[in-house]
Symmetry: C2
Subunit: 406 residues, 2 copies
């Protein structure tokens, strides 16, 4: 059995790095705080005798050799970066539960047949450079590395510069190599498990999503002198598009998701009619057809709203992830582990994107969810219990061991 | 006659300080760029033999003595700060035309009866600390100095710290002292003079305005997992209020003004349903009754929109300026000067706020407008001709001389 108290200590230690006054974590990707998180993780890996390699995207792979040199590695992990006002568990649980798996194997003196690799993927959150699951997307070949390295954050810093600035860049190429499986433990970030009283989510896949960047252009002018008819107010136009996103979400019913989470106004002065607004919009749905429809209709409808106001608009689709079914055999291992442990479990589709969604394109993958309080995530109040963490980590251990020794 | 070419050179020299690639100026109040602008102005004043005093708010007074030590000073001036994407003339014209008046008097060997004071008021634009006409408001006793000094910009820097950081703070108390008159030359910042083919605006007063700061509070949550009904999206709520401001403006007809110029989203991450939005809203109207009505109705209607979404809201009125008639005798001097010079002139009410609006409460005041291209201001493309600048400065000269020698 894994050691739940040790896992909890690791989670709390990691949560000190970037701790916020409201009990959350601000460990945004490729910042000094992320550097500190990576360093602590690297120390722990070294202490556990794991050999650490880092690729050019900063993805970290901590390896434990197996008995059979011809077997492909069984991989598992998640991410250590957080949202600017994120929680302690989103991502960190999957990485530190993976470390706990390694520590438990050591304690039990178990050498698996296949080698094991624990991964910390770079920039899963997407909050800084606008592309979620960035490191895993490059590794899986879903996004071209050169284009990703050239992306800029709000201050104009590129991914390449940010990687270099914190020394996160390694020598290994950021491309997938053959692996036997990838497992990711994560908090659900939604309300279903808590509502149903289940201890574990058997994640059969993830829903589709599409993200856009939008630039609306009007004309800066004086708030006191510019008559209503002469205004080309980019913020009033953006407000209509924010409400369009919400309306399109609601039209999809309970399963629909549509969000404008980031928006900036230029010149952002109280007495200037705004001449430019830049924002991001994203939609999610379990149905690829719905996302395909929104990917078509949202830009059209947004453009019509802009045109009616005499505003310029550029809508750029920045990425799209199709609905992703996980590997049947990998999902079966999770199912089987829950059954053996006698745990109430629910089969479910992930609402959030995860590194496993990209990795699933090149390596057989599956995910394990633990409940989280009020289904709340991307919030400093995000919370889970020590028991829930332990249960999730135990299932991860069971699944990894079963796969590596099959 | 004043020297139009010399005035234009001064305007172009000043416009180098904070020049933007698009031909505008970014000389936001109490920044290093503002420091440089103030320094150049101080040099020019010294070269013109003016004695410079600065008050605790950084307002600069450049004095030329008159013949009669018992006469009160005739004041004139405007501001050297700009919007972040402002033009070369908004404010600078009034200050540098004032300097041209001093230079011309020297050249002509004229000593006026009354002393003259040329003023550069601190932070007229209001873009940094959210209070327009800040320095003149304190000087006129319209805003309490201590409260103003404690205001913070978006980075948390207070007015007091910003004054100290660039050494803008002087020894003189920032309170009004007896003065004979205050005249301000400014670009119109609106389309009327250009449309009417008039060379000068005789400004009879300024319209009323009210500014609000609004904080909307929802709940940060995950964009992929939070169902429509569980969202408390502060940005969707803010979008409704932005459109409410626009609707309230339109209901006032052609004379109405209503603007949300500044808005910031927290945590501002593409895949987080925003938990907090802070923004500024302002309304203007020639009628005090309309502004009084909006000052009552806007907070009520905004609160109703927030409540319908389960959002918290705090609406703080940050300042209100009543419709201000200028001093009849001072306005008459402007009228008379236009008549004598045979200039087509229009009597008008200012759409923008100006330092003269605050000063008018304690010193008899009036304003002179020059046309500006397309009525465009608070925009880098703001533009006037050398002739327009010269004509405005000539009227300022005539008016100052008439008043000082009356
Ligand atoms: N799991 C998670 O929060 N991922 C961030 C990317 C997304 O928004 O789906
Ligand atoms: N003249 C001018 O642009 N003043 C700024 C304050 C205002 O917005 O009225």
């Amino acid at each position: 059995r894994i050691d739940g108290a040790r896992l909890w200590r690791a989670l709390m230690d990691m949560a000190e790095i970037g701790a916020t006054p409201k009990g959350g974590v601000n460990r945004v990707t490729l910042t000094e705080v992320d550097r500190a998180g990576r360093a602590r993780f690297a120390e722990w890996c070294a202490a556990a005798g794991l050999s650490l390699r880092t690729d050019t995207m900063g993805n970290m792979f901590a390896r434990r050799e197996g008995r059979d040199p011809n077997r492909l590695p069984v991989m598992f992990g998640s991410h250590l970066d957080s949202q600017p006002t994120g929680g302690k568990f989103d991502g960190a649980l999957g990485v530190l539960a993976g470390l706990e798996v390694m520590r438990t194997l050591d304690e039990l003196g178990i050498v698996t047949e296949a080698p094991l690799e624990l991964v910390n993927w770079t920039d899963e959150e997407g909050c800084r450079f606008g592309r979620a699951m960035m490191g895993s997307a490059v590794w899986a070949g879903v996004q071209p590395e050169a284009a990703i390295r050239a992306l800029r954050d709000a201050s104009g810093v590129t991914v390449a510069e940010a990687l270099a600035a914190i020394g996160a860049e390694g020598a290994e190429p950021a491309t997938h190599r053959p692996a036997d499986a990838f497992f990711e433990l994560h908090i659900e970030q939604g309300p279903l498990l808590e509502a149903g009283g289940e201890a574990v989510g058997i994640v059969t896949g993830a829903q589709a999503q599409v993200w856009f960047d939008i630039v609306l252009t009007g004309r800066d002018s004086h708030a006191g002198t510019t008559p209503p008819a002469a205004r080309r107010d980019a913020l009033a136009g953006a407000a209509e598009i924010v409400l369009l996103v919400e309306r399109l979400m609601r039209e999809c019913g309970e399963l629909g998701r549509g969000t404008v989470g980031r928006l900036s106004v230029h010149p952002n002065s109280p007495n200037v009619v705004p001449g430019e607004v830049r924002f991001a919009a994203e939609f999610r749905n379990p149905s690829d057809a719905e996302i395909a429809r929104l990917a078509r209709e949202f830009p059209e409808q947004a453009a019509a709203l802009a045109a009616a106001r005499g505003l310029g608009i550029v809508v750029t689709p920045v990425f799209r992830v199709e609905a992703t079914p996980f590997d049947a055999a990998c999902v079966d291992l999770v199912r089987e582990a829950c059954r053996r442990r006698g745990l109430a479990a629910r089969e479910m589709v992930s609402g959030a994107g995860h590194d496993a969604v990209h990795i699933a394109r090149v390596v057989p993958s599956a995910m394990i969810f633990t409940p989280c309080k009020d289904g709340l995530s991307h919030n400093e109040a995000e919370s889970i219990t020590e028991d829930q963490a332990e249960t999730g980590a135990q299932i991860l251990f069971d699944v990894v061991l079963a796969r590596a020794n099959r």
